[in-house]
């Protein structure tokens, strides 16, 4: 059975694409046949984060408009033979994304026996975001410890409960997971940042992981490597934990405790 997972947030710049890339890669690393689709028509970026931007010939809209076969648009990952990328169109407008078209692409992927389809949602609550979430079985709601992001996530949670196929048809609700990114435990301890307990209490959604704020995310995107590949970094480990929890393993939360600077740093100042 193919499972469709939407990565969404409402607010932009919180780490949806970073998360989609690392999450899809992590699933494929664990042996699951996975396809990650960029729904940000007009502003595609997943291809850059995945490092396949020079291999994009056809995109999601070409497939929806029946101009080519799905196989021609699927980009096979160079390192993982179970990972495929479907890029968004750069030029066409968002109206090209129709519900019937998206349904057809997803059905075809199901026939190809994908285990997981990861839908990278655009920011906002317009057509693109609605299309990305419409057919979802599960959702990763990406949230930063920051008031506007938490508010937008609440809005998106409301939409998952009312605008998706499952909600409209009255089936089992979309299974929601909260993923907190750009978390800085030192600032939380200093009372300058909402804690994960606070966010969890406000949004009342089960927590699937906490990704610490880290320079390695920028380094990874500079190179076109999903952050989960950054060996030995907290971010990579945190994303691996997210994938394991998603697949049903129990893992304690890591990288959520404040780290005290050592005596030298305290004496001479950090940085």
């Amino acid at each position: 059975m193919t499972k469709i997972v939407v990565v969404t947030s409402g607010k932009g710049g919180v780490g949806k694409t970073t998360t989609s890339a690392s999450f899809a890669t992590g699933l494929a690393m664990r042996g699951h046949k996975t396809c990650v689709i960029d729904f940000d028509v007009g502003l595609r970026n997943l291809d850059l984060i995945m490092g396949v931007e020079r291999r994009v010939v056809y995109d999601l809209i070409n497939v929806i408009n029946d101009e080519i076969k799905l196989n021609q648009a699927l980009i096979k990952d160079k390192q993982l033979d179970k990972l495929y990328i479907l890029a968004a169109s750069q030029t066409r407008d968002k109206d090209a994304l129709t519900q019937e078209g998206v349904a057809r692409v997803l059905d075809e992927l199901k026939e190809m026996e994908f285990d997981f389809i990861v839908c990278d949602s655009p920011a906002g609550i317009e057509t693109g975001a609605l299309m990305a979430m419409h057919f979802a079985d599960e959702a990763l709601v990406v949230t930063n410890p920051e008031v506007s992001s938490v508010r937008d996530s609440d809005r998106i949670l409301g939409m998952l409960n009312s605008k998706t196929k499952r909600a409209i048809e009255g089936g089992e609700p979309v299974k929601e997971h909260l993923l907190i990114t750009r978390y800085n435990p030192n600032r939380v301890e200093g009372g300058q940042m909402l804690s994960l307990e606070d966010i969890h209490e406000i949004l009342r959604t089960p927590l699937i992981g906490v990704i610490p704020e880290s320079e390695s995310v920028l380094q990874a995107s500079n190179q076109g490597t999903p952050a989960i590949y950054m060996q030995g970094t907290d971010v990579s480990e945190a994303y691996k934990d997210v994938v394991r929890r998603f697949l049903g393993e129990e893992r304690p939360m890591r990288f959520i405790e404040a780290v005290k600077p050592n005596i030298f740093k305290r004496l001479f100042g950090s940085k």
Partner: protein
């Protein structure tokens, strides 16, 4: 933090201010989302039509409301019958 707040007089951390503000505004916004589903006006009109078959009433005599109490949604329908009948 403890040290500082001792000298500055108990000042709330900005994180707890953020939490309070969020809880307030979200409670409000969630209410706005759930209290009036868009089918309420239609439901009201149809109820008026049905009841008008048997009793003559004004369209304003039927009030339809959705309220949220904890985890429950309560659909409240208030029908005022005219006094003149008896």
């Amino acid at each position: 933090m403890g040290f500082l707040s001792f000298f500055l007089g108990e000042k709330k951390s900005s994180a707890s201010v953020a939490k309070e503000r969020l809880q307030l505004i979200l409670a409000h916004e969630r209410n706005g989302r759930s209290t009036s589903p868009d089918y309420l006006p239609q439901l009201q009109r149809e109820l008026v039509a049905v009841i008008s078959k048997y009793v003559s009433i004004n369209p304003d005599d039927i009030k339809v409301n959705m309220e949220r109490e904890g985890d429950f949604e309560v659909l409240e329908v208030k029908i005022e019958l005219p006094e003149t009948r008896r």
